[in-house]
């Protein structure tokens, strides 16, 4: 019974350090809490390390992992007519969970077995997610590397260069980079003020209509990007008779970015302490001054995060630009006339082209895109850290 209690408790307490249970165990004199059998084995004056895994935990984990690997290899490679690496890992994992449960069941009661199965499955799922993101990022950079090595890839436009035949040291995606930046800048100029104002409306003014707005904003967050593009197409190009331009693409992007900025700003504004608002109002400031001088500055870094999340979403949207902007091979600084290329559009056309050099260029553009998104996310982390330390 003692083993059961110990295992149960250690699996509970290796959780978070801020856990109240954990704190209590640490500050109390250790000997009162411990069962006598365990107290004999420990030094008198040192509290027991509560997060330690027992040797039984480690051995059954390692044993199950290695034996399932061996069985999988035997079955998969030698006995059964299966093939494919993915299937190998799937089989290994399923066998591992089964063996782990079996090994645990030899010496532990059912709740512990269930707990271990859960732990194995939860860790497995998290590993799948982490692994897939790492593989996606590495794969993209690896495929784009031949193009990324050349400086001209970043500073030359594709004009006059055949994307499928010219060697990689000619031409580049400068026109697409410029196009993306211009389109996203316009989209930010529209969606940032509108999004933050909407967030202020939802948090500071409130009311029934604000709740409707919140529901709609949440629904718009998952609005298909293609539909945003179609709307701009139907509105600007079909109904108003404009041509395909960078501006149309920027408008479509702003529709996809707006709900993201509005929603994440709202979350940030909602956690601004009410005491700050009340203090400002009590000093006689009108509401607009309170919002401008107290609420928004308090939430500054959070609003920065909202903006960056919006940009990260907007810059990678392919479907709206596919429909609204049209692709150009030449450099175009003017968003109001003529087609304008952008990074996702170039990557898309490149990857679908079927010509090896063009595909490499496409992956190169995708890598640049990915790098921009990664940098934006590092910025988010830095902003978040700044917010933590400033409090």
């Amino acid at each position: 019974m003692t083993t059961v209690a110990n295992t149960g408790r250690s699996s509970v307490e290796d959780d978070s350090p801020e856990d109240v249970l954990d704190e209590r165990t640490r500050t109390d004199p250790p000997n009162e809490q411990l069962p006598p059998a365990a107290a004999e084995t420990l030094p008198e004056d040192r509290p027991r390390a509560v997060s330690a895994r027992t040797m039984d935990d480690n051995l059954s984990l390692a044993g199950a992992a290695s034996s399932s690997l061996a069985v999988t290899w035997l079955l998969y490679e030698q006995v059964l007519p299966f093939s494919g690496k993915l299937g190998f890992f799937l089989t290994w994992y399923v066998l591992f969970v089964a063996l782990y449960a079996l090994v645990t069941a030899l010496s532990h009661p059912r709740p512990i077995v269930v707990d271990r199965i859960w732990t194995a499955i939860v860790h497995g799922a998290a590993a799948v997610v982490g692994l897939s993101i790492v593989v996606v990022v590495i794969y993209t950079f690896a495929k784009g590397w031949p193009a990324l090595r050349h400086v001209n890839f970043y500073v030359h436009p594709m004009s006059g260069v055949s994307a499928g035949e010219a060697p990689l040291n000619q031409g580049g995606i400068y026109n697409a980079i410029v196009g993306s930046l211009i389109e996203v800048a316009i989209a930010v100029a529209i969606s940032l003020p509108l999004g933050i104002a909407t967030a202020i409306y939802m948090t500071e003014v409130g009311g029934k209509a604000a709740r409707v707005v919140r529901t709609v904003v949440e629904a718009m967050t998952a609005l298909p990007d293609l539909v945003a593009g179609l709307f701009i197409y139907a509105f600007l190009i079909v109904a108003l008779g404009q041509s395909k331009t960078g501006l149309a693409a920027a408008l479509a992007l702003s529709i996809t970015m707006l709900p993201i900025i509005a929603r994440s700003s709202e979350v940030v504004l909602r956690v601004v302490p009410g005491g700050l608002r009340e203090a400002s109002l009590a000093l006689g400031a009108p509401q607009w001054r309170t919002v401008l001088s107290v609420v928004l500055p308090t939430a500054r870094s959070g609003l920065g995060t909202a903006l960056i999340l919006g940009i990260a979403r907007g810059i990678g949207e392919t479907a709206p630009v596919l429909i609204t902007s049209g692709a150009s091979t030449y450099l175009n600084y003017n968003p109001t006339v003529d087609p304008m290329n952008s990074l996702p559009l170039f990557a898309y056309t490149g990857i679908r082209s079927g010509q090896p050099l063009y595909i490499t260029r496409g992956y190169g553009a995708a890598s640049v895109l990915l790098a921009i998104v990664l940098v934006l996310f590092i910025l988010v982390r830095l902003l978040a850290r700044q917010r933590d330390t400033s409090r």
């Binding site: 993101i133 993209t140 003014v205 596919l322 996310f377």
Partner: protein, 338 residues
């Protein structure tokens, strides 16, 4: 508070209490109306998306009538336009994507909220957010070039062992053959769904994680104090508490999966026949139909594509609104301070 203030002076109280009324200063009413206008503008934009696409869809629906939804071929040149196979394809891809994404999203959210060491947690949260922000073109390209060759074997295995269930069957292929004809299993709705699942996971996961993180710590400790293991605690406290978030996150993911364009476009080889054998090569979804046909579209074809887009808009709006209502109604909404 109980005694009237006037009892001190002895003057009897016969006046009505003054009605409390706050009047906004002019600056404040300008401020409020401005932000209210911005909020309503968002409503107007969303509304006009529906109105404009709906308006463009009217002639098409008028012309083709209900056959627009029941015919499967999309050949505007022959005056035969139907989006049945696209609707079916959209739903099939979205449902398979959810079947794959749902357990992984829930388990990852649980890992972040209850298993991950405290130091790692904030990094994991940003990692999941990053995963949500990676452009779909990158997932699509990766899925088509890297994942698909691996998935062929999984498809083949499913067909081999579960082909008798009709739904996993791949007509025409012979999976037991050593040279089993990969092309039958390539570029299928299943392949597209796996990649879409990867894009749905972070979205659903972040909603679920937010809700799980709000689980009252007292209830968790109560479960531990009663001798529960961590799995028992999760089953009896975290999951019931987070039910609204789980459902809402899944629905949001479904909305995303219904509308995903580029990844599907890069993976699925276009085939306009009605196809429910999702392991078989080829298929079409509403969004891939629109994106493929848009380039060469003119006149009536364009109108029918806009009508298809309207259908997609209605589907996702419905799903997303239900999701939003579920999330905000659940116990785990904004009202919890614990």
């Amino acid at each position: 508070m109980v005694a009237p203030a006037d009892s001190l002076t002895g003057v009897p109280v016969d006046e009505e209490p003054r009605a409390l009324r706050s009047t906004l200063s002019r600056g404040d009413s300008i401020f409020r109306n401005t932000v209210r206008a911005c909020g309503l503008l968002v409503l107007v934009i969303t509304g006009s998306i529906g109105v404009f696409l709906g308006y463009q869809a009217i002639p098409t629906l008028h012309h083709y009538g209900f056959g627009f939804f029941t015919r499967s071929q999309f050949i505007p040149e022959l005056n035969e336009v139907g989006i049945l196979s696209a609707i079916v394809g959209t739903i099939v891809v979205a449902v398979i994507a959810l079947v794959i994404a749902f357990p992984i999203a829930v388990l990852t959210a649980l890992y972040i909220s209850d298993y991950a060491p405290g130091r790692l947690r904030s990094y994991l949260i940003s990692l999941v957010d990053l995963m949500a922000a990676i452009p779909s073109i990158i997932y699509g390209a990766w899925g088509a070039a890297f994942l698909m060759p691996h998935l062929v074997f999984v498809s083949r295995w499913l067909d081999q062992w579960f082909g008798w269930t009709w739904i996993f069957r791949v007509p025409g292929a012979n999976p037991s053959d050593a040279n089993f004809g990969q092309s039958f299993f390539d570029a299928s709705e299943f392949d597209a769904a796996v990649v879409v699942a990867l894009m749905v996971i972070p979205l659903a996961c972040s909603v679920m994680r937010n809700v799980f993180a709000q689980t009252p710590i007292g209830e968790k400790e109560g479960a531990y104090a009663l001798g529960s293991t961590r799995a028992g605690m999760i089953r009896t406290v975290v999951l019931p508490f987070g039910r609204g978030g789980i459902i809402g996150g899944t629905m949001l993911g479904l909305g995303r999966a219904l509308g995903e364009t580029v990844a599907v476009l890069l993976i699925l080889s276009a085939n306009y026949d009605l196809n429910v054998h999702f392991l078989r090569n080829g298929g079409v979804t509403i969004s891939s139909l629109i994106a493929t046909r848009f380039g060469e579209a003119t006149g009536t074809q364009l109108a029918s594509l806009l009508a298809a887009g309207f259908v997609l808009f209605l589907m996702t709006l419905l799903v997303n609104t239900i999701a939003g209502v579920i999330v905000s109604r659940s116990r785990s909404g904004a009202g919890v301070d614990a």
